[in-house]
């Protein structure tokens, strides 16, 4: 057991990595149709390790770190004050460190000494605390279920091993991202998950739309990554190190920077947030996520709903000790989150493609999480902890119910012969009972029906926004954001059940691609659906009102402490009313529709506005892409006419110099000796002259 205690950290990423390597080396040649087996095995190992980490290894750091927590354990209000936890670390190796005069990289103080000496170090070290452990369990659980689902869903695809190779590479990268102990490592795997996302969106690369979507995701993400890397550079120049434990664990250091360079500090926070905006598909960079649905549906469920896109939320939550000193940055976070949630919800109202509804819903829910994080901007001292807790909690529940929704949508696609347009099928309730029941579970949870997962987490986000709205300084701002959040909650319930009623209710209509008797999910797909469906219903109830999740998360070191809050009954009531109202509205409009024909091709401008995602893609095309393209054309002319000429001129230099030097290099040994002698003589004269000159 002690062996496991020490090595569980590297086992989590290593297991999927080994599975990936197996597929690269051998799995693509032999047992191709069984390529899922090593991946599932690796993910089971990773999952078990993550559970062990969550329940045994990380809690072992709690006791000795928080003696005074024991006496206050019963006192509910004081609990969050006293909750202290440590981090578990596993040092792999020092990739690069120079200029420390032989200091071995073993402890933090050496790192500090090295930073002070102007040395550079890049440590590859795994680090897990309460927050990482919760993330890891979420990531590995959903990945495992999605991989099992995909073993049925992807059956018969020519790229079957490739799919599982990329999937396990993704899980490896995601685990490493969460386990990174410094910003540099985090950035490396931030890019790695982006690469996996690119590979998987473009999985069917022969389809032009998939290739274009992959490219779009990649390019849009570059904008965010550019911000992130600038932020990391700035962190490096400001703090002299990139270790989490150095930057985030030292409030006095942060305060010193805040006092001396406040504008630099806010810039760092905003740049890090730009990275999060790109990865988590927030406005204005959210346009890539709906297109990313071109990838196989299990990928959409795993990467573009449950895990990778939440990396941005994780980044901001991880950097909470930084953000809490910059209320302005937090207000920006809240504003961007609110704008995203609203825009995406409006767009989701009219989408005809089931997966796109879910994609916009994901964007909207991620906006919710950022709203929650940003809520702390009203009063960082007191609100940071609930803000982070509820954002992370919503991420946690969202992962389960959004995964089940996507996988059910995948099951629909599977049965309908890859048709996903809701105008072309309806009434699938009887034909696909498993899919129907699991989709319903996910939809109820997403809509926020009381006692289900989405209800608890969404309700708490509303509660923290409500608290922020009561602040004296920024109350108005946060009141507006709270209203947007409530409006979004209503729309969420509406569009979710619109999709539900259109797909599963009404007369039974199948598209011709589906054949005569569409099959419901086979066991490999059904079991993950059931599990995730049950989780969507229950996991919020199990961890929300009992505060299991929150209390565990509070053990994250460096998390600002705050008094706990009781349930906000007003918000709970309002969100219940809104959820039920949204569902009722959807039922009234779409509940009794007459099949595929029931959806009118309503051409009112508002509907079109929503259907086209507020024309944001077109707006970007007109405002960004086209001017850039014209600029590129101008640049090309400039390049041809001027730069090329300069380069041509420079290219002549070596030729000219060479032609001067080449005659000496003529192959005659006596010439060589003569030139050597000349060099010697010249050096001698010069040195003697400088000697006499200095005397």
């Amino acid at each position: 057991m002690s062996w496991l205690n020490e090595n569980v950290l590297w086992l989590i990423p290593a297991a999927p990595l080994l599975a990936c390597l197996w597929i690269v080396v051998a799995g693509q040649f032999i047992r191709r149709e069984k390529a899922h087996q090593p991946v599932v095995l690796g993910l089971i190992i990773a999952w078990l390790c993550a559970l062990y980490l969550l329940f045994s290894v990380v809690p072992s750091t709690f006791e000795h770190a928080g003696e005074h927590a024991a006496e206050a354990h019963d006192d509910h209000a004081a609990d969050s004050h006293a909750a202290v936890g440590g981090a578990v670390k596993y040092f792999i190796y020092d990739w690069f460190h120079v200029g420390d005069g032989g200091v071995q990289p073993t402890s933090m103080s050496d790192d500090l000494a090295r930073a002070d000496a102007g040395g550079i170090s890049a440590r590859v070290e795994l680090r897990a605390d309460a927050m990482s452990a919760l993330m890891l369990v979420m990531v590995t659980t959903v990945s495992l279920l999605v991989a099992i689902f995909a073993s049925g869903y992807m059956q018969g695809d020519p790229g079957y091993p490739r799919f599982f190779g990329a999937l396990s590479l993704f899980v490896f990268s995601m685990c490493m991202l969460v386990l990174a102990s410094n910003f540099l490592l985090l950035f490396v795997f931030w890019e790695a998950v982006g690469l996996c996302s690119y590979l998987l969106i473009g999985f069917w690369f022969h389809k032009p739309s998939a290739a274009a979507a992959a490219k779009k995701a990649f390019v849009v993400n570059r904008i965010g990554d550019f911000g992130l890397i600038l932020g990391i550079f700035l962190l490096w120049t400001t703090f002299g190190t990139l270790e989490f434990d150095r930057i985030l664990a030292d409030p006095s250091l942060i305060r010193q920077v805040v006092l001396t360079q406040p504008e630099i500090f806010t810039t760092i926070c905003l740049l890090l947030f730009i990275g999060a905006v790109g990865k988590s598909a927030q406005f204005p960079l959210h346009v890539w996520l709906p297109d990313a649905m071109e990838g196989p549906t299990p990928v959409s469920a795993l990467i573009h709903a449950a895990t990778m896109v939440t990396a941005g939320v994780y980044l901001v939550a991880r950097c909470a000790p930084l953000f809490m000193h910059s209320p302005f940055a937090l207000q920006i976070v809240a504003g961007v989150g609110a704008a995203t949630a609203l825009i995406a919800a409006i767009t989701a109202l009219t989408q005809n493609d089931l997966k796109r509804v879910l994609a916009y819903s994901t964007v909207s829910q991620l906006g919710y999480m950022f709203m929650s994080l940003g809520a702390a901007g009203a009063d960082p001292e007191h609100l940071m902890q609930p803000a982070v807790t509820y954002a992370m909690f919503h991420m946690f529940t969202h992962a389960f119910f959004k995964a089940v929704l996507f996988l059910s949508a995948g099951s629909v696609m599977h049965a309908m012969g890859d048709v996903i347009d809701m105008r072309r099928f309806s009434g699938l309730r009887t034909a696909l009972p498993i899919t129907w029941i699991t989709f319903l579970a996910g939809a109820l949870a997403l809509a926020g029906v009381p006692l289900l997962s989405g209800f608890w987490s969404k309700d708490e986000i509303l509660a923290v926004l409500h608290m922020a709205a009561q602040s004296e300084t920024h109350g108005t701002y946060y009141t507006v954001i709270l209203c947007i959040a409530l409006l979004t909650a209503l729309m969420t319930a509406f569009y979710t059940f619109r999709a539900y009623f259109l797909t599963f209710h009404g007369p039974e209509v199948f598209p011709p691609e589906a054949g005569h008797h569409p099959h419901d999910a086979p066991p490999a797909m059904a079991i993950p659906l059931y599990i995730l469906g049950a989780a969507a219903l229950l996991i919020g109830l199990a961890t929300g009102p009992t505060h299991l999740y929150g209390h565990y998360l509070h053990h994250t070191p460096n998390m600002p402490a705050a008094p706990a809050h009781g349930p906000d009954w007003l918000m709970m009531m309002m969100s219940t009313i809104l959820a039920l109202g949204g569902i009722a509205g959807a039922y009234l409009v779409y509940g009794s529709h007459r099949g595929a024909a029931g959806v009118k091709d309503n051409a009112s401008p508002l509907v079109k506005f929503s259907l086209n995602g507020l024309y944001l893609d077109e707006l970007y095309l007109a405002l960004v892409v086209k001017p850039l393209r014209s600029l590129a054309e101008v640049s090309e002319i400039f390049d041809r006419m001027i730069i090329d000429k300069i380069v041509d001129g420079v290219a002549l230099i070596p030729g000219v110099v060479g032609s001067i030097l080449r005659p000496i290099q003529n192959g005659l040994v006596q010439h060589y000796a003569f030139v050597m002698l000349l060099g010697l003589a010249a050096g001698m004269v010069w040195m003697l002259q400088s000697l006499t000159g200095s005397n």
């Binding site: 690069f96 120079v98 200029g99 102007g118 060589y672 000796a673 000697l691």
Partner: protein, 504 residues
């Protein structure tokens, strides 16, 4: 009484030999090979087929045993004896034994069965020579060790292939090498004249005490002559002229050896005679004189090497000029020395680069060694056209080595150049900054011709099938693989080598 003196002398001898056991093992193997080889070859120069494999194995075995012994030794405090075993000696010995094994693999099939014994024996004595340069504690010892490298090199250049180009190359190398040895010896005699001893420790002590103070001109002459003599080994401009001609004409393994081994020996010897580790701020230390001189040598070598490499069409000539420019990069580290605050010191960066350079340049030569055209030896860069289609794996490996020579990630060459740059920039002085800038500029120029080769391999059509030599290329492939592992491995996990270097 007499017995006591004798036993004392024996003890001293024992102690001295104890410091060079690995080198003794290698040299013993050399003697054995020279002695035994004639008995296995008939009067008409015919040898049983496959004899060269046995010599190859014997050489590897000898290096392995020497390496095993080396691993067991540890640095000893330096005395005034004839040899020393300090951290630098230990490190250089490890480097030369390791790369010696790679060179044995490259030489494996270069000479025919009848001459392979002598060829491998020459190589082994060259390796032993490098070790002894590092181990010598005396000017005379250094000189003799350097000659132990030079003299077998003349044979090594000629033995495998005795055609006209090889003869010409050998002749040029022979004449110029002797010339440079003369300069070195001349410089050493002046140093001896001014401080009155040939023992390194005694020289350091004399310089620290300022005993050479009244005769700065003698020291200037000594420094200049010794630098000129050693710069020939480093292929630093303007003492580099032999390199392109010799690389072009010599057998592949000999060119590979010349690109790396003399540099190791040259830098170690330069360090021993010039970078006098004088703790006191003595105005008359030799480093003081040599620094501006070496600054110019570094800049000239970088520029001349890179600019002339741009014009080459023969790949080996190009690599020769590239070797000149890399000597310049490494000289940057030498000039910076320990005058760095913060980042890596110049010597650390130099030693790191030396290892990295060995891996990448030997790897590149290993690739060239296995390629041949149907009609003749593979020579020009054009011959590599379309290699990516004929020999994708080999093209990929050559690309890796060229990337590393350029200094691009993910190869060790990137870290090597980065270290040198940081060291030069870290001096904080104007001359150090300029060195760093010229280094960066030259790295860019270098990218031009390295990437051109890669472009030729991947983008040009394949008019004539360049093939890998069909027979017996296994040792070369092995060498290639080792170099590739080192090139990638030192990028991914440079820490262990860095830790070793920091003990030096």
């Amino acid at each position: 009484m007499n017995d006591l003196v004798i036993s004392d002398a024996v003890q001293q001898l024992n102690r001295a030999v104890g410091l060079i056991v690995p080198d003794v093992i290698v040299l013993a193997t050399v003697c054995l090979m020279f002695f035994a080889a004639p008995f296995l070859v008939s009067e008409r120069g015919e040898a049983p087929a496959g004899l060269r494999h046995r010599w190859g194995w014997l050489s590897l075995l000898s290096l392995l045993v020497a390496g095993y012994v080396w691993w067991g030794t540890s640095p000893q405090p330096v005395t005034t004896g004839p040899f020393r075993l300090d951290e630098l000696t230990w490190f250089i010995r490890g480097v030369s034994l390791a790369f010696g094994a790679v060179l044995v693999l490259l030489t494996w099939n270069q000479a025919d069965d009848a001459r392979s014994a002598e060829t491998q024996a020459c190589l082994l004595s060259i390796i032993a020579g490098v070790n002894l340069v590092a181990a010598a504690n005396d000017l005379v010892g250094i000189f003799i060790a350097l000659e132990l490298i030079s003299v077998p090199t003349y044979l090594f250049l000629l033995l495998p292939r005795r055609d006209a180009p090889a003869q010409e190359a050998t002749m040029k190398y022979f004449l110029l090498s002797i010339f440079s040895s003369g300069m070195l010896l001349f410089g050493m005699s002046y140093l001896y004249g001014s401080v009155g001893s040939t023992n390194l420790e005694a020289i350091y002590a004399a310089l620290t005490a300022g005993r050479a103070h009244p005769m700065p001109i003698l020291l200037v002459v000594a420094v200049m002559m010794m630098v000129a003599g050693l710069a020939f080994r480093l292929t630093a401009v303007p003492f580099h002229f032999y390199a392109p001609d010799v690389f072009q004409g010599a057998p592949n393994a000999a060119a590979a050896m010349l690109s790396f081994v003399p540099k190791v020996a040259g830098f170690v010897a330069l360090y021993r005679v010039l970078a006098v580790p004088v703790e006191a701020l003595d105005h008359w230390s030799l480093a003081q004189f040599s620094e501006p001189l070496l600054w110019w040598l570094a800049v000239l070598s970088m520029f001349v090497g890179n600019l002339l490499a741009l014009l080459q069409t023969d790949i080996r000539r190009m690599l020769a000029f590239s070797s000149v420019s890399h000597a310049g990069y490494m000289l940057v580290g030498f000039v910076v020395g320990t005058a760095t605050t913060g980042g890596p010191t110049g010597f650390e960066a130099l030693l790191f680069y030396l290892v990295v350079y060995g891996a990448m340049t030997l790897g590149a030569f290993a690739v060239l060694g296995v390629l041949q055209r149907p009609d003749r030896r593979m020579e020009s860069i054009e011959d590599l056209s379309g290699l990516s289609r004929n020999q994708p794996a080999i093209a990929l490996l050559l690309t890796l080595f060229l990337f590393s020579l350029t200094g691009l990630p993910p190869t060790a060459g990137f870290l090597g150049k980065l270290n040198l740059f940081l060291a030069a920039w870290g001096t904080g002085s104007e001359s150090g900054h300029w060195l760093a800038i010229w280094l960066a500029v030259n790295a860019t120029i270098g990218a031009w011709y390295y990437l051109r080769v890669i472009g030729t391999m991947y983008l040009q059509p394949a008019p004539m099938a360049v093939t890998a030599t069909d027979s017996n290329a296994t040792p070369s492939y092995l060498a290639m693989g080792l170099c590739a592992i080192a090139t990638l491995g030192l990028f991914a996990v440079p820490g262990w080598l860095w830790a070793l270097i920091q003990h030096v």
